[in-house]
């Protein structure tokens, strides 16, 4: 099954109002080609879920500058000035989440779990309004699962069936988000035939991936 399409075809599955899970960490391992293709679409009211909404050099900020993004769920927005601006203008539009909790909420959403029980954030603003649970005398926050309509994922190598390898520290959220989105779009530096990728190096199985496109030079 060949899942290879153009970046424009891949992002044609994104609709206004969608929650987008976007892989990457700061300026590295973000799906730049998919994001740039999305800039050409007439969609709005998107929610961006990502570690940091990228930096001034990555494309998520362009989506924001075009007014396509209404909400952010992220751990750190210090490198994206537009995210900071959104937080000032409309604090309710930005949810800041401890990094491990964001990872665990996304994992829970993809793994059929009812949520994650964490101590992280107790006694801080990150706990405000959240239910807690007492277990063996310890208090835990009940953190809700987080899923997306579409995941935008970077891969170093991807085969035509969607099996992905993420090199080095580009694994970050790129490896966990494909479990937690209805539609998964992958951009790969290198697209190979099925069987060329060593089974021991596959981080995301093709069964989770819907469309694959070639990453352009960035």
């Amino acid at each position: 099954m060949d899942k290879v399409v153009s970046a424009a075809q891949a992002v044609s599955h994104i609709r206004s109002g969608d929650v987008l899970l976007i892989g990457g960490f700061l300026q590295w391992g973000t799906p730049e080609t998919l994001l740039k293709a999305l800039l050409e679409r007439d969609v709005h009211d998107l929610t961006v879920v990502s570690n940091d909404t990228g930096t001034g050099e990555t494309a998520t900020i362009c989506l924001m500058q075009q007014g396509m993004v209404s909400r952010i769920k992220s751990t750190y927005i210090g490198a994206n000035s537009h995210s900071g601006q959104m937080l000032i203008e409309d604090p309710a539009s930005v949810e800041l989440i401890p990094q491990g909790t964001l990872a665990e909420r996304i994992r829970a959403g993809g793994a059929g779990l009812g949520g994650a029980l964490v101590e992280v954030g107790l006694g801080t603003v990150a706990a405000e309004g959240k239910p807690t649970l007492e277990i063996d005398g310890k208090t835990y926050l009940i953190e809700r699962p987080l899923r997306g309509n579409v995941a935008l994922i970077y891969a170093t190598v991807c085969d035509k069936a969607g099996n992905c390898f993420m090199k080095g520290s580009t694994k970050n959220f790129n490896v966990i988000m494909p479990l937690s989105a209805d539609i998964v779009l992958v951009e790969a530096e290198s697209i190979v035939d099925v069987g060329e990728l060593d089974s021991e190096l596959i981080h995301v199985p093709g069964v989770l991936v819907d469309y694959v496109c070639q990453r352009e030079d960035v």
Partner: protein, 227 residues
């Protein structure tokens, strides 16, 4: 030696052999440079590396291998890469022996404020809340005051990063532990008196039974180490 180097050289004596260490952005990253040669440490970068090595030479490096500050790094032999869920399993699960990070305020209950100054631009907590709750030992490395304003307080006034998590604070003046009784001064830097530290601290300080002279990695510490 400037304040930051004093702090980094003292902090470098904290790890034991084979410890897993996480270094926050900024001053803490200097610590790795001063760890004694006979102590092997494994550095974690929370974006997905165990076994971080030095920065690559300018113009070299592989952009697939970078640290949590976004800078390219090299990795040591035996390094491992992983995703964010595994990274924070290690962090929350108590597998990090020491996390070193800076702070805006620390109070005598061990409460930590490090991520948000009210009225200033908010950037988010990143992995800091997870690190200070999950690590076996939390060591704050920071200058003793913010341009003269005390950062060690009876009670933090800024929004907290976590409650009751700080074990030790290392400043250019002193090494101070958070104990059930409050702040205890363990070591004083060369030429610094207990009163000097009290003057720039906004909380009661308890002198240890035997305050030592602050030791520094890579500096001859053999002379009498009582203050």
């Amino acid at each position: 030696m400037n304040a930051k180097e004093i702090i980094a050289r003292r902090a470098a004596l904290e790890p034991s052999d084979n410890n897993l260490i996480n270094l926050g952005i900024g001053l803490p990253t200097m610590i790795a440079n001063f760890v004694p040669a006979d102590v092997e440490i494994v550095l974690q970068s929370e974006n997905g590396i165990l076994g971080v090595g030095p920065k690559p030479a300018p113009g070299e490096g592989d952009w697939h291998i970078y640290d949590a500050g976004g800078g390219l790094v090299t990795v040591k032999p035996g390094a491992m890469f992983f995703d964010s869920a595994y990274s924070f399993s290690l962090i929350r699960g108590g597998h990090v022996d020491i996390t070193f990070l800076g702070a805006l305020q620390v109070d005598e209950q061990g409460n930590l404020a490090s991520w948000m100054v009210p009225g200033r631009r908010v950037t988010g907590m990143g992995g800091a809340m997870d690190l200070v709750v999950g690590a076996k030992r939390v060591v704050i490395t920071m200058e003793h005051t913010q341009k003269g304003t005390p950062k060690l307080l009876a009670a933090c006034t800024y929004p907290l990063t976590a409650v009751g998590v700080v074990d030790r604070i290392i400043t250019e003046l002193a090494v101070i532990d958070v104990t059930p009784k409050g702040f205890v001064v363990r070591e004083l830097a060369e030429g610094v008196t207990f009163k000097d530290v009290c003057d720039v601290t906004d909380a009661p300080l308890i002198p240890d039974d035997q305050i030592l002279k602050m030791r520094l990695a890579g500096v001859d510490n053999r002379e009498d180490d009582r203050c």
